[in-house]
Symmetry: C2
Subunit: 345 residues, 2 copies
């Protein structure tokens, strides 16, 4: 459009016209979203994207992202919004194909912050090999949101023969964890202005579909459940899986990888690492005879160097998650109650 | 879970624990979302849903919904969130298959309001025959959102041979409109507390994929562009299509259906109906020789009784949308500038 002006990406702010469906919104789409996300499907500028699929099973997952602060050590809301949804798609065993992104912006958000976030999303999507092919932008008045919320939705293709679901754990299965826990939640706590303390902890936010593809290649029929321990941490995910499958789970505290500085920070903050969110880890429940094969596949992957077999599935009508402690006792790892860390993802 | 309590759906409120990944969130999912959305895919309680597709073309679309007020004549944010995304999927010619829904809730939202919204979504999805198969819930602190925002994402299957895209309009094509304009926007304005005036106008919020299926059946190869004139109204959509296709469009004011009470309300409010949002109308650009066939198909559909051929596509390097006025003159229908009606969808 010859009559359109440029967005002021240096010192401009989001205003209500950017969500109004008119010229300002078209500028925002052209000069910010299409500029960074740049791909053939998005560039057609329709209200939907079309893509070809082979006959088969697709996975779809959606996640809203409301993390505060928007920028944190190891990432930002943009990269997190890509990783979070890619991981939820991948936890079915699927290879993610495409992403959609819906932005809810607060009036007054600096356009420079929005561009930094969008560029970060684009980089994360490019690195993952999964384009953002359609989207939406809404703007609400100052004080009616908190900077920016991003909801991403992903679709992926599940390989034939793979049957991964939270209700497939059975007594005797092994429980694997792909790496150390608590990094994301502690890094967010550390970056919140009222909780600044010395730490080198960065979020583990990362896309796990590459690791999942390696696991599926290593033992496609042996993987029963995959889930990423985000909100509520490892404790929530193990309780979810035990509940869905109608089994108990026993884990061994000594085998759960926790970085020394995360452990120290948790002690200072009064947090239990079992309940702290992660954004680049997965739990895998598998047939016991494939556990070593899958552990080796995890450890070969750059994100799985600290992977461990942390426990096993047992018969238990109470569906309890229990932990053998470092002192030899056993305690129940209950569902998270209350909310230690709001706005963590 | 024997130890879980019931949600207090009568007088309870959303609090931060409902987004925390623990027991309260599991209760919210079980006792509210799964209760109302109830379908086999959702009920598996995984973080993604799997479904089978034939080989072919899929459409994906996503839309955030931030409408204020949450409840309005003719609908609410729940039904709107279903219709809005179904329509964006359908505007590719696709038959919608599945929906995903991501909720961002403000602490303090009455659970009774949330249940009313979720029940309304479920009713709209059931009526449309498109289940909500996966979802997500986040909660932010009081004052960091505005009650509830809902982002829905839909996938659909595009019939073979259908090629509908905003860049396919060509000189000589006819421009059809499926019914009267302005109803949604005016009903929202009327329901906002500071603009209460006597009116019987209700939102036209409705799912259009049934009408689209009828159009595709009537003349599958003749439909060039479909788009629903939501934010920015008919004026924005015609300018978008003219811009994408590199053509001009000339419409005839006398042929554009506007209800008398909508016209009157627009005069009082200083609004131009061309720029007011709709949520149950579509614009169809088609080969001229199929225009009467498609018009007849629209009019046979319950949502298309007032459909009309409102203009034609012309060659125009400036990509102008022009309107022949009731007085015989011709004026440019420009892009919306500024924002008359924030939070309209």
């Amino acid at each position: 459009m010859s009559r359109s002006q440029s967005l002021n990406l240096k010192s401009g702010q989001v205003d209500l016209t950017h969500g109004g469906g008119g010229r300002a919104m078209a500028q925002l789409i052209d000069q910010l979203f299409i500029k960074h996300f740049d791909n053939d499907l998005l560039n057609r500028r329709n209200d939907q994207a079309l893509f070809n699929v082979p006959a088969g099973r697709l996975a779809i997952s959606t996640d809203g992202h409301v993390i505060s602060p928007l920028f944190f050590p190891g990432g930002d809301i943009g990269s997190l919004a890509v990783h979070g949804t890619l991981n939820d798609v991948a936890m079915s065993g699927a290879k993610p194909l495409y992403l959609a992104a819906a932005f809810i912006l607060e009036e007054g958000l600096p356009l420079a912050d929005l561009e930094r976030i969008v560029a970060s999303m684009a980089a994360a999507a490019n690195k993952a090999g999964v384009p953002i092919v359609t989207g939406d932008t809404k703007v609400v008045e100052r004080g009616k949101a908190d900077g920016v919320f991003i909801t991403t939705t992903g679709v992926g293709l599940v390989p034939d023969g793979v049957e991964i679901s939270g209700d497939r754990a059975a007594a005797g299965c092994a429980v694997l964890l792909s790496g150390s826990i608590g990094d994301h939640g502690v890094s967010i706590m550390a970056s919140r202005e009222n909780l600044q303390f010395e730490t080198s902890i960065v979020s583990d936010s990362a896309a796990l579909h590459g690791m999942v593809a390696d696991l599926v290649a290593a033992a496609p029929n042996a993987i029963r459940c995959l889930r990423d321990p985000t909100r509520g941490g490892l404790a929530a995910v193990l309780n979810e899986l035990a509940g869905q499958s109608g089994v108990g789970i026993v884990i061994d505290e000594a085998r759960i990888p926790v970085k020394a500085q995360v452990k120290a920070a948790c002690e200072i903050l009064g947090l239990d690492p079992l309940y702290v969110a992660n954004e680049g880890k997965l739990v895998c429940i598998c047939d016991a005879d494939a556990a070593e094969t899958l552990l080796a596949a995890m450890r070969r992957h750059p994100l799985g160097g600290d992977a461990a077999i942390i426990g096993e599935v047992v018969a238990d009508p109470h569906r309890f998650v229990q932990m053998t402690t470092a002192f030899g006792g056993r305690r129940i790892v209950d569902w998270p109650v209350g909310e230690q860390l709001p706005r963590i993802c």
